[in-house]
């Protein structure tokens, strides 16, 4: 078991901090190196560093945004206020009341500013949780730049007019699990629990379920450096970690749902272990290798579904369309059939967005992880498990 003294940890962090600052000083800045630091154990260490590095991870350095006016007249203002007013749990417990009020004001403006800048984006409950993480770590001005970029890339699919894309992304969970534990997948399928238990994990990047802001920030270091699907790989590792508890007891929907729901809320969640395992799993089973299976699960789900709306949705938005949007299907492998009118209307927008997504997150994130991960992955037998 790993028992490192506090001093050893401190000195390791000091040298990592020095190395990060050095990478920041290089001309040009060594972004690949920064990504490695962000993914490696303990991530970017503190918020001073995060404020400097996150803009590189999201490619917003030296970018400027004109703050939009009259954001409080946005159509979603009412819903945003309802959620912001109930966000007190997320702020440090020792903050004075008036400071929390000030932060909540900034939070409302941050959310509504991004929504005003991008009329095509739709607010969802849980988006405010992501924004709180940035606000607390980076302050209001930098957060606007970062959240603006994040919303048009990593979070873009969650902000569609409907949650159909989100539902589809959740289906990637099944093939990832299947690669490691087919028995578990069979059990989960039999229980009819579905994948919606992980919705809050995915769309809040775990800020809804983790208790410590510092854990959330560390996890964001990881996700900001990776492919937008990484939160799903992470979800799979949480489920795998709890597989024996899931499979012990009656194979019944609500019991399994409850175990799954609680599995991310455990205070002892071994974050670093899960991050390593997620990275491994991403390298071994990249999204392109899972697309077919995820689509299959989506179809199977539809077949057993009793909900007519879903069948309707399937006609307009087949899984292939969603995959194409994410840009994870190579062009020559794109299915040739169907081009529904609904999709064509959106096509020009998505082509532009897809290129940008590849430049910012897809290519830089995923490929770098895949190529350079082995030298920093910690030894698994050194990790402390609960």
């Amino acid at each position: 078991k790993l028992t490192m003294s506090k001093n050893a940890v401190k000195s390791r962090h000091r040298s990592k901090e020095a190395a990060i600052l050095k990478a920041l000083c290089k001309v040009p800045v060594d972004v690949v190196q920064l990504r490695k630091f962000a993914i490696a154990p303990d991530g970017l260490l503190n918020n001073d560093i995060r404020r400097q590095v996150w803009p590189y991870l999201l490619n917003t350095v030296r970018q400027e945004l004109d703050k939009p006016q009259n954001v409080r007249s946005h159509r979603e203002c009412q819903q945003v206020l309802l959620d912001v007013n109930r966000s007190g749990k997320r702020f440090p417990p020792d903050l004075p009341e008036d400071r929390i009020t000030e932060l909540q004001d900034q939070l409302t403006d941050l959310i509504l500013s991004v929504l005003t800048l991008h009329p095509e984006l739709n607010y969802y409950q849980g988006y405010h949780d992501i924004c709180i993480t940035f606000l607390l770590a980076c302050g209001p001005d930098l957060s606007l730049l970062l959240v603006d970029r994040l919303s048009t890339h990593h979070l873009r699919d969650f902000m569609d007019p409907t949650m159909n894309s989100t539902t589809h992304i959740l289906n990637y969970l099944i093939p990832i699990l299947n690669k490691s534990n087919p028995e578990l997948v069979e059990y989960i399928a039999k229980s009819e629990v579905g994948t919606t238990f992980a919705i809050s994990w995915l769309i809040t990047w775990y800020s809804y379920v983790l208790r410590n802001q510092s854990d959330i920030e560390r996890l964001y270091d990881f996700f900001l450096s990776c492919n937008p699907l990484m939160p799903i790989y992470f979800a799979a590792q949480i489920v795998l970690l709890n597989s024996s508890q899931i499979m012990t007891g009656e194979c019944e929907m609500s019991r399994v749902y409850q175990v799954l729901l609680q599995s991310a809320r455990q205070p002892t969640l071994p974050l670093e272990y899960l991050i390593s395992k997620s990275s491994d799993s991403f390298i071994l089973f990249p999204p392109s290798s899972l697309a077919r299976e995820a689509a299959q699960y989506y179809k199977n789900n539809l077949a057993v579904s009793t909900f007519c709306d879903y069948a309707l949705v399937a006609r307009h938005e087949t899984p292939d369309v969603v995959l194409r949007r994410r840009g994870i299907y190579p062009d020559d492998k794109l299915p040739k059939k169907q081009e529904a009118p609904v999709v064509s209307l959106k096509q020009s927008y998505w082509n532009a967005s897809r290129t940008a997504a590849l430049a910012v997150s897809g290519a830089v994130g995923a490929v770098v992880v895949a190529a350079s991960s082995l030298d920093w992955l910690p030894d698994f037998d050194l990790l402390v498990l609960p």
Partner: protein
């Protein structure tokens, strides 16, 4: 009170699934939390997706486990996520906020969707809960209006406040009503309360309110 989500042995207990729905911020989480833990949450937050609480009741010597599915209120969740959870539910609790007219006006949509998605909806007991009664100065939904609406949809109506400690008994009554009904599986209105109309049920609740006139300190 049993703890939230504690026991896993369902073998000896009757198990009933109840879905709690309604607009954002009407108090669905607080209502289910109050019933399952006896307390009001210190800090509330928007529910993302669908949460889950449960409590086991002893009804006439028989253990009944109630599972409460607590749902997100935002429309996009209502359309995409919540329909999954209508499957196999035994009862539905429609919730509105007595201080928010829109949450009351939103009820027909919820009812319509519930009917569309739940199988066998005629056999599924449904009740209507008006929450936040402690905010007396801000009440926008007149009790008579709510009764008329509940009548029109054949539901009993309860007005309550998840926040007010003295309302615990009332909240217990809401879920006990459902539990009794589910246990006996007889029509809730006529046979469980042969000599009691809904208005009477309501006035019992009002009685509780009246005897605890002291302003609530929250």
């Amino acid at each position: 009170h049993t703890e939230e989500g504690s026991s896993t042995d369902t073998a000896s207990k009757k198990l009933f699934k109840i879905i709690v729905i309604g607009d954002s911020d009407v108090g669905k989480t607080c209502l289910t939390y109050r019933f399952c833990t006896g307390n009001f949450p210190d800090k509330t937050e928007a529910t993302i997706g669908v949460d889950f609480r449960e409590r086991t009741l002893d009804i006439d010597g028989e253990l009944i486990k109630l599972q409460l599915w607590d749902t997100a209120g935002q429309e996009r969740f209502r359309k995409s996520m919540v329909p999954h959870y209508y499957r196999n539910v035994h009862a539905v609790v429609f919730t509105y906020d007595v201080t928010n007219s829109r949450s009351f006006e939103g009820l027909p949509l919820w009812i319509e969707e519930c009917e569309r998605y739940s199988l066998n909806s005629t056999n599924i007991p449904r009740i209507l809960v008006g929450n936040k009664c402690d905010l007396k100065e801000q009440i926008k939904i007149d009790t008579n209006n709510a009764v008329r609406f509940a009548d029109a949809h054949s539901m009993p109506l309860f007005e309550t406040s998840a926040k007010t400690d003295t309302e615990i008994a009332n909240i217990e009554a809401i879920f006990l009503t459902i539990a009794h009904k589910l246990k006996s599986q007889k029509p809730m209105m006529n046979q469980d309360y042969p000599n009691m109309k809904r208005a009477t049920v309501l006035s019992v609740d009002k009685e509780v309110l009246r005897t605890n006139e002291a302003p609530c300190g929250c």
